[in-house]
């Protein structure tokens, strides 16, 4: 069994702060982490490897620093990490990103058969949820997004049954393999890696692929050239004008609540 997981190193958005004067992100002191959904995708891949044998390859496009994320994946049990890194890739939107990842996966498929492609359902910095479906489309592979569970997986018969969460419930879908899954966190709980794996990962250096080696990417399709969208402007959301905050400790609970109810009524939104 060979599973390929595509991950992204992201700033921990729960720690992101904005400079209120310039409206720009303060990246200083913000830890870079593996996109949380992606970490669960790696965990699923490693579990399937333990069950069926085979290997797990993790790929990521990003700056040299993103190599750290691949080392963390190695700790989790991934066998091979590939960092696709080149200045030419910068400012890529989801279309250009899905091109680079799809071409990389094609190159890996040329080395030998691949059974499963895994992506997190979305990255917490961009929240687009577009790259996984984009790659599936480019490769012409079956796509199951928002996957929450793998009911069965048979790399020999090349079929699998996957649970997918939608608004109306859980869809139970059968697919041929290889297929591409974008996963929710429930897909596999992350277990703490054994010490031997951590030691192995600490000695592992991921491969680095550039825009020209070993895959020659079409320069018209990568980076800013290959991106149909641009950011026109970016700004911090204007703060809403807040109403008063009354302290129970000062007014007592009864009169505070009475006043609150009066405000709700005065706003005319709901009849009490």
């Amino acid at each position: 069994m060979h599973a390929i997981v595509a991950i992204k190193q992201v700033p921990d958005t729960s720690n992101v702060r904005i400079n209120p004067e310039t409206g720009t992100l303060i990246r200083e002191g913000v830890p870079a982490i593996i996109n949380p959904y992606d970490a669960h995708a790696v965990e699923l891949a490693v579990r399937l490897k333990r069950q069926f044998g085979g290997k797990v390859t993790v790929i990521t496009m990003g700056p040299p620093k993103a190599s750290e994320a691949l080392v963390e994946c190695a700790e989790q049990g991934a066998d091979r990490g590939i960092l696709i890194s080149d200045r030419k890739f910068s400012a890529a939107d989801t279309l250009a990103t899905s091109y680079v990842l799809a071409r990389t996966i094609e190159a890996l498929m040329a080395e030998g058969p691949v059974d499963l492609l895994l992506f997190g359902k979305q990255a917490i910095d961009g929240d687009t949820a577009q790259v996984g479906p984009g790659v599936a489309t480019r490769l012409g592979l079956p796509l199951i997004s928002y996957a929450v569970g793998v009911e069965s997986f048979d790399p020999i018969a090349r079929t699998g049954v996957v649970h997918r969460r939608t608004e109306r419930g859980i869809e139970v879908l059968q697919t041929t393999l290889p297929a591409l899954l974008t996963v929710e966190k429930e897909i596999a709980a992350i277990e703490r890696a054994p010490l031997a794996d951590v030691i192995r990962a600490a000695q592992y250096t991921p491969e680095v692929w550039s825009a020209s080696e070993p895959v020659a990417f079409d320069v018209a399709k990568i980076g800013i050239k290959g991106s149909p969208t641009i950011v026109g402007k970016a700004y911090t959301p204007p703060p809403k004008k807040a109403g008063a905050a009354v302290k129970v400790a000062e007014k007592g609970v009864a009169s505070t609540v009475t006043e609150a109810l009066a405000k709700v009524k005065a706003a005319g939104v709901v009849k009490i």
Binding site: I18, T137, R168, G169, E171, A179, V248, A260, V264
Partner: protein, 344 residues
């Protein structure tokens, strides 16, 4: 004809029922059309025996509906839907294409955009026509809602965007409406589809909540202290004819089902009344509730960011405040009769 700029809206349907986000988008499309000379608003509808929905789309402002009606489209699957729509796009070259940012819409839109090699802006909260360039300016929150970015699609067409349900107001349909129905073939058979739907396990009926469209939401966060705290919220919600929502923290902690989650990674809501109890109000949560008409926040921490978006804030112990709130409402009801949601 070449001057006609088609603004397309996906009429999302499942089990023969249109998703209301489709009508929200038709409303938005009409507002965009007013700013864009030569623009027409049209719908795209796929399914199996769903022609009836087209008539509804006309009432919400579509002048034309492109319909692919085929048994293969009976249940939503990415490949046949994306294939069919991409062919429509190639044939009719719309200028703008809007899709609801639902599970289905997000899955589908990125596949379409990739097939036709165009730009797609996900999860927009605001749509406008750039007055100088006459192109779509799609604004979306990014970095967990810390930053708003306005995205432009330079030259590729259509300019695609997904928009979350309830981010835009729901339009009122016209009494009657008429439009042109354009039928197109799918050009694909069941044998071509690799993914088969075996069954759907419906969400537990107790958990099935239409939180996005609720008029009153009573939501709880970590300040509840324990999952049992939701009982108190349920009581208040029931009293107000509303539903219970939650912050991501308590969903992650397993206190309540994910269908209740509000915020960046959950649902966007725009109730008439939103009561936040023990929710600190991280930006990721706040972006999901700012469409509410009235926000009442209760938190023991006077510095909780939730107060920055609240219309009225109570700094205190929610276990003191909520029972008092319930009591006072009951007391007032004793004289006034049953609750009723005011129609704005």
């Amino acid at each position: 004809m070449s001057d006609t700029k088609r603004i397309w809206v996906l009429i999302e349907q499942e089990e023969g029922k249109a998703h209301p986000v489709s009508w929200e988008l038709l409303g938005a499309a009409q507002r965009l059309a007013a700013e864009l000379p030569g623009a027409v608003v049209e719908g795209v509808l796929l399914g199996d025996g769903v022609e009836g929905i087209a008539a509804e789309a006309y009432r919400y402002g579509a002048t034309k509906v492109y319909l692919i009606d085929d048994p293969v489209l009976n249940v939503y699957r990415n490949a046949p839907y994306a294939y069919g729509i991409a062919n429509l796009v190639k044939k009719y070259t719309p200028e703008i294409f809007l899709v609801g940012a639902t599970t289905l819409g997000r899955d589908l839109a990125s596949a379409i955009a990739t097939r036709v090699a165009t730009g797609l802006t996900a999860d927009c909260t605001e749509l406008a026509i750039d007055p100088d360039k006459h192109i779509l300016a799609a604004t979306r929150p990014t970095f967990g809602g810390n930053l708003m970015a306005t995205i432009l699609c330079k030259t590729q067409r259509p300019q695609m965007a997904t928009v979350r349900p309830r981010v835009l107001p729901s339009p009122t349909p016209a009494e009657t409406g008429a439009g042109e129905l354009v039928r197109e073939p799918l050009g694909m058979t069941e044998a071509d589809v690799a993914v088969k739907l075996l069954k759907v396990i419906p969400t537990d009926s107790g958990e099935q909540v239409d939180i996005e469209y609720a008029d009153v939401i009573v939501a709880g966060g970590r300040g509840l202290g324990a999952p049992e705290g939701f009982k108190l919220l349920e009581e208040l919600a029931e009293l107000l004819g509303g539903v219970v929502g939650a912050s991501r923290a308590v969903v992650d902690a397993g206190w309540i089902n994910v269908s209740r989650q509000i915020g960046q990674t959950g649902k966007t809501v725009r109730p008439k009344l939103f009561i936040a109890a023990g929710i600190s109000g991280a930006i990721q949560h706040r972006v999901g509730i700012t469409g509410s008409d009235f926000i009442l926040a209760i938190n023991s921490d006077p510095n909780a960011p939730i107060f920055s978006v609240a219309d009225y804030g109570i700094v205190g112990d929610l276990y003191e405040v909520l029972p008092e709130l319930i009591n006072q409402i009951k007391a007032q009801r004793a004289g006034h009769g049953a609750p009723e949601v005011a129609h704005a």
